[in-house]
């Protein structure tokens, strides 16, 4: 039922931003590396935005700026939009100012490409800024902060046709009941007769005219609104394309939704209601009666329409109708002002139509009703003022539970529907200021839950840091016991030995250098045998010995020479492994030296920096929790005052009704008395005549 203007603006705004980004994405080839990276970083933020996580999106934008130094005009604009979404209005204004500055300096002109909107107008940065300002105004109005809304409106210098109606409506609301200045509209407003946005302008205008007692122009305006087939606000291509889940793209761009129909009906109904009200003011009760005769039952204005209809029916002496309707009003709306007034009208009619006695009984019941309501009201006020938590009156447990269970909850925004079982609070919540205060309270609770989660996270980080410190200390202790220098010397000697062997083998191409132990033993035996042969030479014939020894030596040499390439390769590989091991152990030693050296103290600095950051965060969390508690207490106080004011107003109203009832009852009693007197007077002459007749007899 509700036309969610904020959502509408938000969607247009971010859609437009997305358009910029998508545009850049599609033409990514033309970008240099930095632009490409910036584009990708922003699309990360977009992912969060499209999944509905505005806080994460905002954090991603600021993280991109902090870590990757991305600082374009579009980043400020996107940030401004997100800030408005989460209610950071002042920061949004700062971001918009930065955007304006970068636009004025002509920065990033190439990085904010103009995209064709399927034949419609282009989305220029100025237009996006306007959308952001309109969104800001809307939120300020929703928070009943009309001065801030007026300030935002004054910042708009020029409003294109597409946004005129929205600008006009927001201006009417921000300046109500004064005439809005509409400074950004240079020429006469050309409102589209078909757009529902122009219907709101006309309705507000008519309401203003009625209040100024200018009935004729108001009547003409309302007749026009009533008889016009209003279409839903035109939905832009961007809105349909990028609107996340409000209208799915497969439903078609121009498909009229059920919501549009309801809105159309509501506009017409409200025009009829105002028209009937206008007739009442002019005492044209018959016109009012016929205006509301076929008013729909399921309209949001049924209560008011029913009351005016009953009242006008009474005035044109349609007594049966008015009697039934006034009775219905009392039963259907027992806590409404109109329901209370119906009771008075009902009693008045009973007195006039039925009898004075019946009228008196009815007035007594009405007075009892007001007394009951006054007692209820007092009880509610006492309970409310005594309650520790004003939120306990609302039924919003699911969201709070959800927030508690989900680490991805949105701590910065709340659109919780305010539902309550208390009929008085429900009535009080018609006041937008109170609504806004309650939303603030809910937001504060969400923030508090979020901060508790962050405190746990911070604690976990602290424990991780402590564990890291412990781990580092253990490693340092273990490493201290390791004789790095001896290992390195040994490895170097080993390396040198192998390198020498390889060099020797390569130079002399002798396989015996790589002889294995068995072969080395055989070579040794051959050498010893040769020495023994030399000793016995000249005493015996050694030819056979020498021949056999040469044969054995030849076989071994052949084996060794055959294995030489393979063994050379193996040794070279071994040398590589040794070299790597040496480099690794040298690096390890250096790292350990750095880690353990109190002079260098890099590790300490690093850990100290992390610890300091953790401690800073922890302190910040505590101070924020205190701030949340303080603001919560202030907001609760404001809510109590607001409810107290509401109760006073309701009490005054009920007391006025009770007083009126007593006056009316006094009037009825007087009438009854005069009737009694009249009867008495009629009876006295009759009695005298009778006594005279008796006397004569």
């Amino acid at each position: 039922m509700q036309i969610n203007v904020v959502m509408f603006i938000k969607v247009i705004f971010v859609s437009a931003i997305v358009t910029l980004l998508m545009g850049t994405s599609s033409s990514v080839q033309a970008f240099d590396g930095n632009d490409q990276l910036e584009d990708k970083l922003y699309r990360q933020a977009l992912y969060f935005y499209f999944t509905g996580n505005y806080s994460e999106a905002l954090m991603q934008v600021s993280l991109n700026r902090q870590r990757f130094k991305t600082n374009s005009s579009r980043s400020h604009l996107f940030e401004a939009g997100l800030q408005v979404s989460v209610g950071l209005h002042k920061q949004a204004e700062i971001s918009l100012n930065k955007f304006e500055q970068s636009q004025a300096l002509g920065l990033n002109n190439n990085s904010t490409p103009v995209i064709e909107e399927q034949g419609k107008s282009n989305t220029s940065p100025e237009e996006l800024k306007l959308i952001a300002l309109l969104q800001l105004t809307e939120q300020k109005i929703q928070q009943s902060d009309n001065q801030a809304a007026q300030h935002a409106l004054r910042r708009m210098t020029q409003v294109p046709n597409a946004y005129r109606e929205q600008y006009h409506t927001l201006s009417q609301l921000a300046y109500w009941p004064e005439q809005p200045p509409l400074t950004a509209l240079n020429n006469t407003i050309e409102t589209s007769q078909q757009s529902s946005a122009s219907a709101y302008i006309a309705l507000n205008k008519a309401l203003q005219l009625i209040e100024q007692q200018e009935f004729e122009p108001a009547k003409i305006l309302l007749e026009t609104i009533k008889n016009t087939e209003w279409q839903a606000q035109s939905v832009t291509f961007w809105q349909v394309l990028f609107n996340p889940f409000l209208r799915f793209f497969d439903q078609g761009i121009k498909e009229e939704t059920n919501e549009d129909k309801i809105q159309q009906q509501a506009i017409n109904d409200y025009a009829r209601l105002l028209l009937a009200q206008l007739y009442i003011k002019q005492e044209l009760y018959e016109a009012a009666y016929y205006e509301l005769k076929d008013f729909p039952q399921d309209s949001p204005y049924t209560e008011s329409a029913l009351f005016i209809f009953a009242f006008s029916a009474q005035k044109i002496r349609q007594f049966t109708t008015s009697f039934t309707l006034l009775d219905l009003m009392q039963k259907r709306y027992p806590y409404s002002n109109l329901g209370w007034q119906s009771a008075l009208l009902f009693s008045a009619q009973a007195t006039e139509q039925k009898s004075l006695e019946q009228g008196m009984t009815s007035y007594q019941q009405t007075a009892k009703l007001y007394q009951q309501r006054l007692s209820d009201l007092t009880r509610f006020n006492d309970d409310f003022l005594m309650s520790e938590d004003v939120l306990s009156y609302l039924s919003l447990k699911p969201e709070k539970k959800q927030a508690k269970n989900s680490s991805n909850s949105q701590p910065l925004t709340s659109n919780t529907p305010l539902t309550t079982d208390s009929l008085w609070l429900k009535k009080a919540l018609l006041n937008t200021e109170l609504q806004s205060q309650y939303q603030t309270l809910i937001e504060l609770d969400l923030l508090s839950i979020h901060l508790q989660e962050q405190r746990l996270k911070s604690q976990w980080l602290y424990e991780t840091l402590e564990l890291n410190k412990l781990r580092k200390a253990n490693i340092t202790e273990k490493q201290k016991r390791r004789p790095y220098q001896a290992i390195i010397t040994e490895l170097r000697a080993k390396k040198q030995h192998i390198a020498d062997m390889i060099a020797q083998a390569e130079n002399k191409q002798q396989g015996h250098i790589f002889a294995d132990p068995n072969q080395a033993r055989l070579l040794k035996r051959i050498k010893q045998s040769k020495q023994a042969i030399n000793v016995i030479d000249g005493h015996r014939n050694i030819d056979e010995y020498q021949e056999r020894l040469a044969r054995v030596e030849g076989v071994i040499t052949w084996q060794l020479q055959g294995a030489l390439p393979q063994r050379l390769w193996q040794h070279k590989k071994q040398l590589n492994v040794l070299e790597r091991e040496l480099v690794h152990i040298e690096q390890q030693q250096k790292r350990f030296d750095v880690l353990s050296d109190p002079e260098l103290g890099l590790a300490k600095t690093d850990t100290h920096d992390l610890v300091a950051r953790q401690q800073k965060s922890s302190t910040k969390i505590t101070s924020l929790l205190n701030a949340v508690a303080q603001v919560r207490a202030e907001t609760s106080h404001e809510i109590r005052e607001n409810v107290n004011d509401f109760v006073s107003r309701q009490r005054t109203l009920l007391e006025q009704h009770a007083l009126t009832t007593r006056h009316e009852m006094a009037g009825v009693l007087e009438k009854m008395l005069s009737v009694d007197k009249r009867i008495e007077q009629q009876l006295v002459p009759a009695k005298q005549t009778q006594s005279n007749a008796v006397g004569t007899l």
Binding site: V86, F242, Q277, K281, S304, L412, L430, T440, K457, T464
Partner: protein, 188 residues
């Protein structure tokens, strides 16, 4: 009291309240409006200030967590993006590094659409030693004819002292009428 005027005023005021249904807010200016405005403004400023500080705190804790757990020298991040998404509506993705399952993600419709609208999702953040590594991703989804299909990609990369960021791009190919998975290493 002129009873007609009384009723009329009530109706007008009711009308104002009812206009809220349209997102229109009309408030009577009260005598103590200025004082109330000041308090309201103060509370609103305080709330904004808290929100802003909470955002800053979130960012600081996020950065601290990353610096502590995923230092740049070992950090590897993997992202998923979708270009159009007409030929493959992704349902899930599985990620393996060096044949070891490191991440998996099941998409909701909203998350899928967020990707199709241009968002980039970081699906994995982890640590790897310096050296050569192998990344394998398997996407499961529905093709344009409603069949469940899988697309896989394997990518070899080298980890040095800098952060490695790898984007898995699900891109529609008009020529083959199917989606391909392309890999891009971000240049930091």
């Amino acid at each position: 009291m002129n009873i007609i005027n009384f009723y009329s005023n009530v109706v007008i005021r009711t009308g104002k309240v009812l206009l809220l249904v349209f997102g229109v807010i009309l408030l009577p200016i009260s005598a103590y409006a200025e004082e109330a405005e000041k308090t309201k403004s103060k509370l609103s400023t305080e709330l904004e200030d808290i929100k802003s500080q909470v955002l800053k705190l979130n960012r600081e804790l996020f950065v601290l967590e990353e610096d502590l757990l995923f230092p740049a020298s070992t950090q590897v991040a993997v992202f998923v993006s979708v270009d159009i998404g007409k030929f493959l509506k992704i349902d899930s993705v599985e990620l393996k590094i060096n044949d070891k399952n490191v991440a998996g993600f099941l998409y909701t419709e909203r998350q899928r659409i967020a990707l199709e609208k241009g968002g980039i999702q970081r699906i994995y953040l982890g640590n790897l030693k310096v050296g050569n590594h192998q990344l394998t991703a398997i996407f499961t989804g529905i093709d344009n004819e409603g069949r469940t299909v899988q697309r896989a990609v394997s990518h070899a990369f080298e980890k040095d002292d800098e952060t490695v960021m790898i984007e898995l791009k699900v891109e529609d190919s008009e020529s083959t009428y199917r989606a391909n998975i392309n890999v891009e290493e971000w240049v930091l």
